[in-house]
């Protein structure tokens, strides 16, 4: 059984930006990098459960809108306190202009 989920159209996300994607009870953040690659992480900051989709993407960094903690959204690694715990990350692919994420 495939766990790939259709999340959005490619052009729904600007380059160097992020959108929120809710699926069932879960929430995710989907990123488009400056070089037009797509990435997906958990949607909430590991520090205080704030939606990262309201934050700022700078190159490959997402900054939380509440406390300015930072993650590398490619691997979820924490890059600036107050975040210490990594984000979960999920594979993505693009098919027929749609961004799919595997969240199994």
């Amino acid at each position: 059984m495939s766990d790939w989920v259709d999340a959005c159209a490619e052009d729904e996300i600007d380059a160097e930006d992020v959108i929120r994607f809710d699926h069932g009870e879960r929430t995710f953040a989907i990123y488009r990098s400056p070089d037009d690659a797509y990435y997906c992480t958990d949607g909430l900051c590991t520090h205080e459960q704030v939606h990262l989709a309201d934050g700022l993407v700078m190159d490959h960094i997402i900054e939380c809108p509440k406390h300015n903690g930072q993650f590398d959204y490619r691997d979820g690694a924490p890059k600036r306190v107050p975040v210490c715990e990594a984000l979960g990350t999920y594979p993505t692919k693009v098919e027929n202009g749609r961004v799919l994420i595997r969240i199994g």
């Binding site: 205080e48 934050g55 700022l56 700078m58 809108p65 509440k66 406390h67 600036r80 107050p82 210490c84």
Partner: protein, 357 residues
């Protein structure tokens, strides 16, 4: 008096009632505009920092050259404000990491300003994160400046830095002895504790060396440069800082109710690095200080009218504080313009006290 400690009954109540780490009200701004507002640049903060550090060196240099004549006094007063008050705003902005685009520039200025204000750069980063999570939530916010009933003696002492500096020095020595205070342990992760202790030990050594130099010279001049300006220059950051939240609502989840924006003169704006846009800063802490005027213009129709000046803000605040001596539930309820989205009465009703008439 209410329990403002972070480990008491108020703290438990805040967690149980859902006030802790709650979702807060935000004015609507289109994503594209918000991205532009949040975008970082080095230009304004580099200019302001060169000016700030240049003036510090200039005023200290003239003060030293004229020492011990009383002619040096005005230069020490100017140096003191740039040290003991601008240090506060630089600590704040660079702690958020928003002042500069380049991370190391934020970090360098943050370390300098933290030292000036005697605020452990590790502990206070976490304390301020909590202040933004739980702004003026009793039992959760470690940075509530004016509690109810107001402790004006503390504010008066702090205009010359005495209360906070005494506390900071005690805490610095406590941390330097290898210990983390139980209240600090509620908001600083254990993995960060060694850093807190290391900084406290380095600073203790610097202050000891400064005091040693003063004793060796038989003069307080070294302390006029390091340490004492935290006292004689503190008045401006207390004057502006009190206005951030004092007299307004506690235990609400809308910064329009618990924070105050006050228009100020250009010199105070430079010293305070635009934190007079305090509602805007709390609502959108990722917006750099130099973009706050632009943010204010975009959302002002959704906010209470700013106080037009510092004296007017104090004239509004003083009667509220006097009344809080008799009734600690009293607060100033800020009126919204007709264009604003209303307060969420349903959510606040339970937590709010008696509104001002």
């Amino acid at each position: 008096m209410k329990d403002y400690t972070l480990t008491g009954e108020s703290s438990r109540h805040a967690v149980e009632s859902g006030l802790a780490a709650a979702e807060w009200y935000h004015s609507d701004i289109p994503r594209k505009e918000m991205k532009e507002l949040m975008r970082r640049s080095d230009g304004p903060a580099t200019r302001d920092t060169l000016l700030w550090l240049g003036l510090l060196v200039l005023f200290a240099g003239i003060g030293i050259a004229l020492w011990p004549s009383w002619w040096s006094a005005p230069f020490w007063l100017a140096y003191g404000v740039l040290y003991g008050s601008s240090g506060d705003s630089r600590w704040h902005e660079c702690g958020h990491g928003t002042a500069f685009k380049t991370p190391w520039k934020n970090d360098v200025v943050y370390q300098i300003a933290s030292f000036m204000m005697i605020r452990n750069p590790v502990s206070w980063r976490w304390s301020h994160a909590r202040h933004h999570t739980d702004t003026v939530i009793v039992g959760r916010d470690p940075e509530i400046g004016l509690m109810r009933p107001p402790v004006l003696r503390r504010v008066a002492l702090n205009t010359v830095g005495l209360h906070d500096t005494w506390f900071s020095l005690k805490r610095m020595i406590y941390n330097a002895s290898g210990r983390i205070h139980p209240e600090e342990a509620t908001y600083i992760p254990e993995s960060e504790w060694p850093k807190v202790i290391r900084v406290a030990r380095v600073w203790t050594a610097i202050y000891a060396a400064t005091i040693g130099l003063a004793l060796w010279m038989g003069s307080i001049l070294p302390l006029m440069v390091i340490g004492l300006p935290r006292l004689y220059g503190a008045w401006h950051h207390i004057m502006t800082g009190v206005l951030q939240h004092a007299g307004l609502a506690e235990n609400v989840v809308d910064h329009r109710l618990n924070s105050r924006t006050v228009h100020m003169n250009p010199i105070s704006r430079f010293i305070y690095w635009n934190m007079h846009y305090h509602v805007e800063h709390h609502m959108f802490p990722m917006v750099p200080y130099h973009k706050l005027p632009e943010l204010h213009e975009k959302i002002k129709d959704d906010l209470p009218a700013p106080n037009p000046s510092i004296p007017q803000a104090y004239a509004e605040l003083w009667p509220v504080l006097k009344r809080q001596f008799r009734n600690e539930e009293y607060y100033l309820r800020r009126e919204l313009p007709p264009t604003a989205r209303p307060y969420r009465e349903d959510f606040h009703e339970r937590a709010l006290g008696i509104p001002a008439q």
